[in-house]
C-alpha cells in the first residue's frame, strides 16, 4: 500500500479498504527499517502522526471528505510546524520549535494530511547535494553512496523510497527540481508568489517558493490545489485566482508548441543526457505537440546573477540569527559583540557562512551598484529572454540538471557545485513555474526533464507532465530497497 500515489491512497481510504492509522503505521515501520540507510528524515514524530491519523479516521467516520484526509506526508524541515522541531538542517536551529504552523503546513492539515515528520535538507536550503546538513547527508535510494540532490534532498529521497506518499520542498534556484531529477520523482516549482512563504524559513525572499515532490504529476496537482493561493500573511503572495489544477490534466497536447533552447543543447552537454531529452521531446511530439528551436541568449548569465542576488538576500535574512531571541547562543560570551560573532560562527555551517559573506560583500558600500544592482539588471534581461520565448511557444523543455546523481564528496569546490543548477536558476530569477519529471536512466540513475512555462501556467505544466506520464513508465520505476549505503 505504501508504494501507492496520493490519488490511489485517498481512494483506498475513502472506500475503507485501509484506515489512516494502518497506513501511517505502515509508513512509520518502513521509515524505521529503511531510513537508517537514507537519513531522509531529521525528525519523525510518531505519536503526533498517529494522533493525526486517528483524528482523520474519526473525521471520515463522521462523513468528512477532503483530498488529503488521512494521507501521510512529510515536510521539508524548512517549514515551521507548531510543536515539532524545525531545524532547517542547521545547528543554529537544532532545538527550535516553532510557535505556529507555516501556511503551507496549515493548509495541508486543513485538507486532512497526516504529518509523518520533517525531511533532511541542505542547511537553510543552501546546497545542491544535501551534504550541507548539520544532521548528516541524506542518501539517494538509487545508488550506493550517491547524493539525492539538494536542497530538498530528504523530501526527494523519502518520496522515491516510499517513506511518505508525497512531500513538500522549497525551490530558490532548483532545490525542488534538481533532487526530483536525481531521485526519479516529480517536482513542481510554482510561480513566485503562487504559494505563501509565511512560516517557510527565508533564504532569498525574492526567489523562494514552496511546492510538491510527488510520485506523479497528478499528485503534484492535488498538492498544489491544497497549498496555492493568496495569503494575507505573506505580502509577496499574489492575489491572482487559482484553478483546480487536476481539471486540465487530461487535455490533449495538440496545438501546443514546445521550445528547445539551442543554448542548452551545446557541445558541453553530456550526449547521454541530450539523447534522453531529445527522446522526451519526440514523445511529446507524438502526443501532438509541435517542437520549435528557440534561443535563450542570456541563459549563461543566470549563474552569476543568481550568486549575487541569492547570497545578498540571504545575508540580510540570516542576520536575524544573533543568539538573542531564539536559536543557538554560544557559551559564556564576553560581551554582546562576542555573543553575536561566536553564536553565528559556531551555529552556521561553511556553505551558509560563505554565502552570507558573498552577500555582505555584494551589498557593501562601494560594491552595491557593481554587484547587486548589476545582477538585478541582468535579472530583467533573463526575464525578458523568457518572455520573448513565450511569445512563440507554450512551454520550454530542457534537462533539469546536466548530470545524474554524483557520489558524496565528488564536488569539492563551490563553483562546480553551483554549476549543478545551470538549467534551473534562470527560472527562479524570472519567477516563472517549472517542473521536473522522470525521463530516463543513465547507468541505473534517474534523470529528469524540465518543463517551464510563463507566469501562473502551472496547470499547463501539470497537463503536459501528466500526459507524458500516461504514456511512459519512468516515474513508476522503483529503486531496489534495502540497499547497502
Amino acid at each position: 500500500m505504501i508504494e501507492k500515489t496520493v490519488v490511489e491512497l485517498a481512494s483506498a481510504l475513502s472506500t475503507g479498504s485501509v484506515s489512516s492509522v494502518e497506513l501511517t503505521r505502515a509508513f512509520i515501520d518502513r521509515i524505521t527499517t529503511i531510513d537508517t540507510q537514507l537519513n531522509a528524515y531529521i525528525t519523525v514524530d510518531e505519536q503526533e502522526a498517529l494522533k493525526q491519523a486517528k483524528e482523520a479516521d474519526e473525521a471520515r467516520a463522521r462523513g468528512a471528505h477532503s483530498p488529503f484526509l488521512g494521507v501521510p506526508i512529510a515536510h521539508k524541515d524548512l517549514f515551521c510546524t507548531q510543536g515539532t522541531k524545525t531545524t532547517c538542517g542547521s545547528k543554529m536551529l537544532q532545538n527550535f520549535v516553532s510557535p505556529y504552523d507555516a501556511t503551507v503546513v496549515a493548509r495541508l492539515k486543513d485538507s486532512g494530511a497526516v504529518t509523518l515528520g520533517k525531511t533532511n535538507c541542505d542547511e537553510f536550503a543552501m546546497g545542491s547535494s544535501n551534504e550541507n546538513s548539520f544532521f548528516g547527508p541524506a542518501y539517494n535510494p538509487w545508488g550506493k553512496n550517491r547524493v539525492p540532490g539538494g536542497s530538498s534532498g530528504g523530501s526527494a529521497s523519502a518520496v522515491a523510497a516510499d517513506l511518505c506518499a508525497i512531500a513538500t520542498g522549497t525551490d530558490t534556484g532548483g532545490s525542488i527540481r534538481q533532487p526530483a531529477s536525481f531521485c526519479g520523482v516529480t517536482g513542481l516549482k510554482p510561480t513566485y508568489g503562487r504559494v505563501s512563504r509565511w512560516g517557510m524559513v527565508a533564504y532569498a525572499s525574492s526567489l523562494d517558493v514552496g511546492g510538491p515532490l510527488a510520485k506523479t504529476a497528478h499528485d503534484a496537482a492535488v498538492m498544489l490545489n491544497a497549498i496555492a493561493g493568496h495569503d494575507p500573511k505573506d505580502s509577496t503572495s499574489v492575489a491572482v485566482s487559482t484553478e483546480d489544477y487536476t481539471q486540465s490534466l487530461d487535455a490533449p497536447l495538440t496545438n501546443l508548441r514546445i521550445g528547445l533552447p539551442r543554448q542548452y543543447f551545446s557541445q558541453d552537454l553530456d550526449p547521454r543526457v541530450a539523447a534522453i531529452i531529445q527522446e522526451t521531446a519526440r514523445n511529446l511530439e507524438n502526443l501532438g505537440a509541435t517542437l520549435v528551436d528557440i534561443d535563450l541568449e542570456k541563459s549563461t548569465l543566470s549563474l552569476p546573477a543568481y550568486y549575487v542576488i541569492a547570497p545578498a538576500e540571504a545575508s540580510t535574512n540570516l542576520s536575524r540569527y544573533d543568539g538573542v531571541r531564539y536559536g543557538y547562543r554560544c557559551e559564556d560570551p564576553l560581551d554582546l559583540e562576542d555573543m553575536y560573532t561566536r553564536s553565528r560562527t559556531e551555529g552556521f555551517g561553511n556553505e551558509v557562512k560563505r554565502r552570507i559573506m558573498i552577500g555582505t560583500y555584494a551589498l557593501s558600500a562601494g560594491y552595491y551598484d557593481a554587484y547587486y544592482k548589476k545582477a538585478q539588471r541582468i535579472r530583467r534581461l533573463i526575464k525578458q529572454d523568457f518572455s520573448k520565448a513565450f511569445e512563440n511557444v507554450d512551454a520550454i523543455l530542457s534537462p533539469t540538471s546536466p548530470f545524474t546523481a554524483f557520489e558524496l564528496g565528488a564536488k569539492k569546490d563551490p563553483v562546480s557545485m553551483y554549476l549543478e543548477d545551470i538549467y534551473t536558476l534562470g527560472v527562479n530569477l524570472a519567477g516563472i513555474p517549472g517542473i521536473s519529471i522522470p525521463a530516463g536512466f543513465i547507468n541505473g540513475l534517474p534523470i529528469g526533464a524540465q518543463l517551464v512555462a510563463s507566469d501562473f501556467r502551472e496547470g499547463l505544466l501539470l497537463n503536459i507532465a501528466h500526459q507524458y506520464q500516461q504514456n511512459s513508465d519512468w516515474h513508476k520505476q522503483k529503486p531496489s530497497m534495502p540497499m547497502g549505503v
Binding site: P99, G193, V238, R354, A370, P414, D455
Partner: protein, 95 residues
C-alpha cells in the same frame, strides 16, 4: 578587484562571523573563484536596463494599521536562550 586576506577578515567581521587564521587562505581561494564567476556579469551592457527586484514587479502592499496579533509573549520567550522578568537577556552593553 582582487581580494586579499585582510579583505576576507573584514567582510567576515561585517557579517559578524569569524574566520580562523588557518581557514583564511582557503576562504580567500573560494571567495576569489566565486567572484571571478560573478564578474562575468560585467561583460554585459546593462546601461538602459532598469533593475528587477521582484519578478512580478510587485510593489510592497500595505495592510490596514490594525492589531491582528494576540499577546504571545510567554510562548515566544520560551524560545529564547536567556530571559529574565519577561525580557530577553543579553550580555551587559553599557556599564
Amino acid at each position: 578587484m582582487a581580494l586579499n586576506e585582510k579583505n576576507i577578515k573584514d567582510i567576515a567581521h561585517l557579517a559578524r562571523l569569524k574566520i580562523e587564521e588557518n581557514e583564511v587562505v582557503e576562504s580567500l581561494t573560494d571567495f576569489s573563484s566565486i567572484l571571478s564567476m560573478i564578474n562575468e556579469m560585467q561583460t554585459v551592457d546593462t546601461e538602459n536596463i532598469p533593475p528587477l527586484a521582484n519578478p512580478h514587479e510587485q510593489i510592497q502592499r500595505l495592510r490596514k494599521d490594525a492589531v491582528t496579533e494576540s499577546n504571545d509573549r510567554d510562548n515566544l520567550l520560551k524560545l529564547a536562550p536567556k530571559t529574565t522578568d519577561g525580557l530577553f537577556l543579553v550580555p551587559k552593553v553599557i556599564d
